[in-house]
Assembly symmetry: C2
DNA sequence: GTCGTTATTCGTTTTATGTCGAACTGGTGT
DNA sequence: ACACCAGTTCGACATAAAACGAATAACGAC
């Protein structure tokens, strides 16, 4: 996966801080772990140093999500500007050991996104099924060969936090193999996107298989790199 | 690991909600994912139903860590009472594939815990090194045989989020192998606890190896199950 | 269609957050 | 010993969160 590490780390930090009995101490723990001085943090946030102290000392017992988010982001940004050493150090805890090889990118939306909007964003042609649906996220699968070698437990990870998603298979030749993989699997995505293939070249059996699982199939000629950046940048 | 799943899930949920531009929508997403009606949630929280609506609609733009934590906990508790189906469904995303076999338990403290307190809690006898230190967490390693078969990447996971921790090795015979494993590894824990062995039976070389890496070594006769529960319950 | 239940919107009150700046504490260097 | 800087504590204040309850909107059941 591209740079989900930063996001995952941010989520872990924010989660830990939010669930802590003393969010202030948790905040401090992370700031100290990243070896960032209170003054540096406050300057980055554009607030007076006393603000940091007040939070960490626990004067604000239940800080809002907004500042927690800002502080976490500031800590990570500062580390990134210093070479990202600490982020890298923590990354081993987030690394699942297969993300890089198999999953090119993966994202969960906070609220459902209409399939139609999603399809338009990455220039899809509808092959079968309906676009009158919504998805909670997407997964871009790097190489089909790689996924065929996954254990079933690992395979299920491509569905992320919800099966209500689009699976985007890259560099597809006929589209048959991806559909077979899905037919065989207990979990079904809402939608399959075949990348790097024209609608005319898709194997006719793809439609039949998709119908059985009621999956919407689309194809796009857009470059993988473009898809990744377009989906990442887009605000829904 | 025992039941870190609930905690990890809670952390993931809280993190996502906290970092979201619209925490309300994120909250709703999770409540809906768990198929919990607003009324049920509000009742569990002991608040009026309008409160839930207000959060989810975004009237509260930046809810405090306290309620976010309460809501996440309520969602998980309700699911648990209904059999924990949804928690189980999400657990595959948290499962790393080795925790159960190798790591018996693992925990991170929000603030440093004095080694002396820690040692006393699990009935340790000091073998070498100082207790004038502090740790950020601990890892209980289930079986030494299992860890010897880990890849280096996997091995580093036993250090969790900080190497400033205690590694507790269970069912130790002489204590030599655990120390060898640590000598060979780039990361060093603050402290090693040998479980199931008397101070007199510890191999003399253990002390020498520990000194080189400046690691405190202790041993305890306390049962593994007891250690787990005592450490989990203890408020620091 | 009407009723009852459940969910949302909104006005209102109380309490707490978010922020500053001034005053205070504690090391460091000269 | 003194001045200086970084960090903490604290009073103050505007604004927002946290909560309730009444009024309104939605949705099924009959």
């Amino acid at each position: 996966m591209k740079s989900g590490v930063r996001n995952q780390l941010a989520e872990k930090m924010a989660g830990e801080i939010t669930l802590s009995d003393s969010p202030g101490q948790a905040l401090k723990k992370w700031r100290v772990s990243f070896e960032i001085a209170p003054g540096v943090l406050s300057e980055r946030l554009g607030v007076s140093p006393s603000v940091i102290s007040d939070y960490e000392s626990g004067r604000r017992k239940s800080p809002g999500t907004a500042i927690v988010g800002k502080i976490v982001d500031a800590i990570l940004s500062i580390d990134e500007e210093h070479g990202g050493n600490h982020i890298q150090q923590f990354s081993s805890m987030l690394y699942t050991g297969m993300d890089d090889d198999v999953i090119y990118d993966m994202h969960e939306y906070v609220s459902p996104v209409p399939l139609e909007t999603f399809a338009a964003t990455i220039g899809c042609t509808l092959l079968c099924g309906s676009v009158e649906q919504a998805i909670n996220g997407y997964t871009i699968i790097n190489s089909l060969n790689a996924i065929l070698q996954l254990s079933s437990n690992e395979f299920n990870r491509i569905y992320g936090w919800s099966t209500e998603r689009a699976l985007i298979f890259t560099n597809v030749s006929t589209g048959k193999s991806p559909m077979v993989a899905i037919r065989v699997t207990p979990f079904k995505p809402r939608c399959v996107v075949l990348q790097g293939i024209e609608a005319a070249d898709v194997h006719p059996i793809v439609g039949k298989m998709a119908e059985r699982d009621r999956i919407t199939v689309m194809c796009t000629g857009m470059e993988v790199e473009t898809i990744v950046s377009v989906l990442r940048e887009k605000e829904w």
